[in-house]
């Protein structure tokens, strides 16, 4: 659902050059989603739990290695003897998820694997024990893409709701999915009325992160005070009473603003 074509092209290039790459980004940004799409495109080997035995087992299963006994009962040495010769012959793409911490034995194994295959890892932060050759930072979606994703998920084109979703999610696709799921559930359970804006605002106020506190440093009434104050000063102290075009425009502007405020206040009541 999320458009990540630029990132996919960069990853394809690094696969062609056999360079190991790490995808970095906050939780819910779409790292695992990207890895899964690579798994489908390249028939890659996806590994979630990073232990030496598990990695070798998964690669062996992905390569469809023949052994007399089940792979589960083989030890690490036997597994590496089975896997390494086949890996030398062909470039295999290995995908590692949740790579925040890599133990030293796993790091040693990854160094060996790097020689013959391409490793693509995903993590929230870089692991200290293993150095990947390239880094790719996944960034949050922009406002329009967030709205497009929300439209696909909730089938609503109300700009007010889409704006709130885009603001609350901070462009994080995982967060957008979460908010949209909760929103659809609330509508299905009759907790939300789409015609009542107050109930919608209440629903979004409950979602973290809360909106930052807004401080209005220049309220609109101050504009009237300053404007009329300047006019009075000019009239009494400088005795200039000619009403030229500028004053007329300013007066019209003030009047229209007052009318606008009055109409808005009536609506609120």
């Amino acid at each position: 659902m999320v458009n990540r074509t630029n990132e996919l092209e960069l990853i394809k290039k690094s696969i062609e050059k056999r360079k190991s790459i790490i995808l970095l980004g906050q939780k819910g940004i779409g790292k695992t989603y990207l890895l899964k799409s690579i798994e489908l495109n390249f028939k890659a080997c996806y590994i979630e739990h990073l232990t030496v035995k598990n990695i070798l087992e998964k690669i062996a299963a992905n390569l469809k290695v023949h052994s007399r006994i089940s792979l589960r009962y083989l030890n690490i040495e036997e597994l590496s003897e089975l896997v390494m010769p086949i890996l030398k012959k062909r470039n295999k793409v290995i995908l590692l998820d949740n790579c925040e911490s890599i133990s030293k034995p796993v790091a040693r194994l990854l160094e060996k694997l790097c020689e013959h295959s391409t490793i693509i890892a995903a993590a929230e932060r870089k692991p200290w024990s293993f150095r990947f050759r390239e880094e790719l930072m996944l960034i949050p979606l922009d406002r329009n893409s967030s709205k497009e994703l929300a439209v696909k998920l909730i089938n609503l084109r109300d700009n007010f709701i889409l704006d709130l979703i885009a603001t609350k999610s901070l462009g994080n696709p995982g967060k957008i999915c979460e908010i949209c799921r909760d929103f659809s559930l609330a509508i299905d359970n009759f907790e939300l009325d789409l015609l009542d804006k107050n109930s919608i605002i209440k629903f979004f106020l409950g979602i973290k992160p809360h909106f930052p506190t807004r401080i209005n440093i220049f309220p609109i009434w101050l504009l009237f005070v300053i404007g009329f104050g300047l006019l009075i000063v000019k009239y009494f102290f400088y005795s200039e009473s000619d009403w030229n075009t500028g004053y007329m425009i300013a007066a019209m502007g003030y009047t229209s603003l007052i009318i606008y405020r009055l109409i808005n206040d009536k609506r609120r009541r």
């Binding site: 980004g25 906050q26 930072m137 996944l138 960034i139 949050p140 922009d142 406002r143 704006d163 603001t167 901070l170 930052p212 506190t213 807004r214 401080i215 209005n216 440093i217 220049f218 309220p219 609109i220 504009l223």
Partner: protein
């Protein structure tokens, strides 16, 4: 706010404050765009670190604060005219961003967003188009 809005409002502000030389107006326009280098869209594409800043801090954070405005313009302090025109550019950017609903964290690292006139605008809305039209008209009339 859009890039064109920032350019037009900053030039209008500089013109209204009596800056006529082409150099000071150019500096005003350039410095009006600098705070938006924190996101990898529009003018931010020129900044190689914008992706990193956007991922780490998000849009409208440190680059929309008074500390940043003073720091980034400090190297122009040798020439007072240029320094003031650069400050006008950045501050006009802040002022137009403070018109939007979200506001800006002017006193960063204090996490409070400041708005003016209660933040009535949304970026890219017809209200903003009206501001673009009005400021373009103002620039043409004053020039």
């Amino acid at each position: 706010m859009l890039t064109i809005t920032h350019v037009l409002t900053s030039i209008l502000a500089a013109k209204l404050l009596g800056f006529d030389s082409i150099w000071s107006l150019a500096i005003t326009a350039i410095f009006a765009l600098i705070p938006d280098l924190d996101q990898p869209v529009g003018i931010g594409k020129l900044n190689p670190f914008s992706r990193y800043i956007y991922a780490k801090f998000g849009h409208r954070n440190i680059t929309h604060s008074l500390i940043f405005a003073l720091l980034i313009t400090s190297f122009l302090a040798i020439n007072q005219t240029l320094w003031i025109s650069a400050l006008i550019g950045i501050l006009s950017h802040f002022a137009s961003d403070m018109l939007t609903y979200t506001g800006i964290p002017l006193l960063w690292p204090i996490k409070k967003n400041f708005v003016i006139f209660n933040g009535p605008l949304l970026t890219g809305s017809w209200h903003e188009m009206l501001i673009i039209f009005a400021s373009a008209l103002g620039v043409i009339l004053i020039w």
